[in-house]
Each structure stands twice: as C-alpha cells, then as structure tokens.
C-alpha cells in the first residue's frame, strides 16, 4: 500500500509494522521448527524479535488510542487549546515515526522524501509549541510542595533554592569537620 505522510497514515504504518513483525515471528518459529527445533527452542531463538513485535503492537495501540481519544475531546474545547492539543498529538506520532524509521522502511513503502518531510514536520512542530512550553507544564498543575524541586518551583528561583538546599547539608553545620583533625592534618604532616 502507498505511504501517506499524515497522522492516520503513520498510525496505519505502525499497524503494518506490528502486523509484519508478528507475521515474521510466526514464520521464523515455523522455519526453525522445520529444521528440527522444538517449539520452545524455536520460540526462544525468536524471542528478541517477539519482544520487538510486542513493543510495535503496543506503539500502534498507543498512537491509535491517543489520536482517537483526542479527536473525541478536541471539539469540546476552545480553538486555542484545540490547536495545541492537536499539535501535541502530531508531535507524538511524528516523533515515534522518526524513532522507528528502520521498521517503517522495512514494512511500509515510506520513501526518503517522506522521511525528509517528516523531519521538517517535526522541527516545525517544536517551533510551534515552543511559545506554549511553560504553559503546557503549568497545566499539569503540580504544586511546589508536591514537585519538591529546587529547579522546578513555580517562581523559578532556581539558583536561590539550590543554594538553600546546599546549606541544609549536615556538613555545613560546622566550619571544620572533625575528620580534618583526625585524618587529614596528621596525614598532611606525615604523622598518619
């Protein structure tokens, strides 16, 4: 089937990858059995491919469900939010297509030109989402007490919080640690 450089086309591509990988596993198990291996040994010899097929199946489910479930909700939200939610779906699907190019090249009719377009599409999506990057994580609405991070606090006082955290180290409770008198000083003076 011809490759379609659309979200639906990519999802279908992932389903082809999963189906193709499962089919190959079945065929390889059978081939190995035909050489005299037991089913269990044939399974074991094919298990790297089987795990990969299983992951491909899961990716196909993840992409399909994310896409279809988002389609159900986008008509209930404002146009501005709708646009961002759809950009995120696009980003996720295109990202995984680029991550799994080898599989797509093997099991679908994707071409080099299609891949170039996918890469540009991905970079374009990053640029489009960039202005909303902080808004998107603010929407996870995780309070500082829950986030518990010097780097991620809502007010962005990163360096002040890092220093506050450093000062809480028990080693900073005294100016000179006892190990200096016990070990370092005698060692430095050649007495240890």
């Amino acid at each position: 089937p011809p490759w379609e450089n659309t979200i639906e086309g990519i999802i279908k591509g992932f389903q082809r990858v999963a189906a193709g990988k499962i089919g190959l596993c079945v065929s390889n198990i059978e081939k190995r059995q035909n050489t005299g291996l037991s089913y269990e040994d044939a399974w074991n010899m094919t298990s790297v491919q089987l795990a990969s097929a299983s992951e491909a199946h899961c990716r196909a489910i993840l992409l399909y469900t994310y896409y279809t479930e988002t389609e159900k909700i986008v008509n209930t939200v404002s146009p501005a939010l709708r646009q961002v939610l759809l950009q995120l779906v696009d980003l996720y699907v295109v990202y995984w297509a680029l991550q799994r190019l080898g599989d797509l090249l093997r099991f679908t009719s994707i071409s080099e030109k299609d891949i170039d377009e996918l890469q540009r599409w991905y970079e374009d999506l990053l640029t489009k989402l960039r202005p909303n990057a902080v808004g998107l994580v603010d929407a996870f609405d995780i309070r500082d007490e829950i986030l518990r991070s010097a780097l991620g606090a809502y007010d962005g006082r990163v360096y002040e919080r890092l220093m506050e955290a450093a000062l809480r180290s028990p080693l900073n409770a005294e100016p000179v640690n006892s190990s200096f008198h016990k070990y370092l000083k005698p060692f430095m003076q050649g007495k240890l």
Partner: protein
Amino acid sequence: VNPDLQRERDKCTFNVTELINLIDGGVQKTEERKKQEDMVLSEGIHIEDVPSEYLSHKEKYELAVKKACLLFKVIRKMQEEDNAGMENYRAVLGGKLGSAILQDGSPLTLHYVMFIPTLMGQASVEQQVHWIGRAFDLNIIGTYAQTELGHGTFIRGLETTATYDPSTKEFVLHSPTLTAYKWWPGGLAHTANYCIVMAQLYTKGQCHGIHPFIVQLRDEETHMPLKGIKIGEIGVKLGMNGTNNGFLGFDHVRIPREHMLMKNSKVLEDGTYVNSPSSKLAYGTMMFVRVVLVTDMCNYMAKAVTIAMRYSAVRRQSQPKPNEPEPQILDYLTQQHKLLIGVASVHAFRLNADWLWNMYNNVTAELDAGDLERLPELHALSCCLKAVSTADAAECVERCRLACGGHGYMLASNLPSTYGLTTAACTYEGENTVLLLQTARYLVKAWQQAAGGNALTPTVSYIATVNSGRRL
C-alpha cells in the same frame, strides 16, 4: 517570579486553567483535587526538620512509617467528611500527593494497592466481610507476597507450598528451600502483620497450582513474628528505600482452612478441591496493578518534565551570536526535542491509561458475570502497556535529568528520586521483557487465528486488515 518564566507565561496562547480542568476531568474534579491537596498539605506532614536524604536507612524507614500513619489519619478525616470510598485512597496514596510526602516510597502502599484489592477480587463474600473492614480501618496491615528469591514472573515455578491437612482442617505453609523465600514485597519486612501469600496448593497428595492464602505474620499486640515465620528486610536499593521491602520464609506454619481466599477455587473440609472457572483469575491483582501503574507513570513524567521545562526557561547558556545575551536553553531546538516529547507523552499515556482503566472495569464486570472471553486480551494489553509505559517514563525522566545538566544530578532537583521510582516499575509486577513476551504469545495466537480466517478481538483486529510489505 523569575522574569524569564513570567515572560513565558505571558506569551502562552491558550488558557492554562482550561487545560488543567480538561486533564482533571472537569472543573469540579479540579476543585476536588485542590481541596484534597489543601487538606493533606495543611497538615504539614511533608515538612521535614532534617532533609530525609541525609537520614540513615533505618531513620528513613521510621520517618516513612510516621508519615504514612499521619497521612492515613488525614484520609480517615476525608472519608468521614465526604465518604468517597476508595477514591481518596487512590488519589492521596497512589497519586502525586503520596509520592510528595513519602518521596522514597511508603511502607503502606501495598496495603492499599495490593492487599485490599486482592481481598476484594479473590476473597469469598464471607471472607470479605471478615477482613476488608479491618483492613480499611488499618486495624491490620497487609501486604502481598508472590515473588520468591528464586522465581519472579514465572509464577508456576513458585516453590512455597500450602498442604491441606484434613485432620485439623488447616493448611501447612512451608518454604522447602532458600529460593522459596518470598522476596521483595513492600511493607513485608517490619510493617505488615498480615500477608496474602501465593503458594502451591496440595490436597489429597495432588498439586493444584498457585493459590492465594491470608497468613498472619506478627502478633497483633506485640508485633513479634509468629512461630515458624522467618521475616526481615532485604536491604538498600537504587530507590524506594521507604517501602520496607522484605523477605519471608515459612517453617511448617499452620493456618485455618478459611484462610485460603476462596472466591474462585475452593478446598472443602474433607480436602476435595473445587476448581475455578479459569486459572487466569488468580492473576487479577497483578493485572489491576499493571493498569494502575500506567497512570502512575504519567504522574512521574509530568513531574519530571515540569521541573526540566521551568529550569530550561530560567537557565541561560552559551553565546551563539556575538554581542547578544546568553539565550534561554529552552530556545535550543535540541532542548525542545528533549522536553516537548515528554509533555506529549504525558497526554498520550493519560488517555491510554483512562482507556485501559475503562476496559479493565468492563472486563472485570464481564468476569463477575462468568464471561471470560476478553480476559486474555486485557492480560496481553496490560502486560505490554505496563512494559512500554514504565520504560518510556524512565527514559523520559532520565532525559529530563540530562536536560538540566549537572543541576539535574542534585537530589534537590527531585529528578534522581523520581528516576528511582520509575525505573523500579520497569522490574516490579513483571520485568518488562518478560511481559512483552507474554503479550507476544497472545499476538502469535491472534496471527494464527487471522490466518485461519477467524474473527479477532478489537485491539488486534488490525492484524487481519492491514497489508504489510515494502513496495518494490
């Protein structure tokens, strides 16, 4: 607020509150969540005199127990106020709130996430009446012991035996070897006084495979281990050092016949074994946990990406154009590449988790009505989604840590402990490769069914419809 961060917020093109409400499931749900957070955080349980990172292993456990008890007190108050059933337990203990207060895990998690759900799913009505009330009120503390030192996901290989003695109407639990010792369960070491134990059932000289039993481990007053119970903690781990993981061995420990959970299979007084409609029904708890795990992974990813994104808006680095200030690192495309996929992943997994949760509820309702048809499909799906979501979450958290450079390596960033929690999930409830291979068994069968012209279940129906193969 840092001016760079404020500028980012000013230029946002959508209404953040609208997205918050959408993620929560509606305005009312957001209000409920915030009320819950206010209620829990106003107790100040999360505030520590000494940062817990600097405590010894023993002190960390003691603090975790103290916090877990105080947290339970808050939940009890919530229950009295709005009587929200299991929802408060899941929201407070299983969600972001729980991991905020008990950063390195809670010794009571398995009580709520495995002990009570197993009682609900595997105990007969009479047994539920006897145990569940006490468990909810924390009059008893339970955990769930399945994995052994010598065997993990391959549960048919478990060695612990439960041999029925009709003369006393008791089961005798025994660990015949060192490798038969139960190993890993959270809360088992020094917290729980009861435990659901998966053991090979023997009656009338015949083995009937693994079955769940409820076993008392410690005296309810003194907390001393009971006779024949060999119990302790397994030691320090990469993360989750507050969860009190333990080991457990049995030396011919006798328990009453009624302590076998008998919703599905039964042993009658004379030792007659009554089979369950499906051997897979005993795996219900694992399936439940795998489904819940997908939601947990969303929470960890959301945390990590929030930290790294805000940091990337504040942090400035390098000078690509002469005579211009150092740009925010978020302006580098490579940084956007690292982080924005994390945001998208949270949304993708959240919607998939909701979808899987609905499916789980539908299938368990069908099971209660005696319909087992979709059980293998749910099992296959929960296995692979658990594997992929935990692997992706661990990778996402690690990517976020790297996106924060050296500062992400500081425990104060909360990224290392978040990584500890996510990567732990790659191995518990079934190591990921093993789970992928379990799904593969289902997929191979589905392929063979499709080849035979048979109808396929919805989630694998694409196998019969898509054609694969590269165009020449």
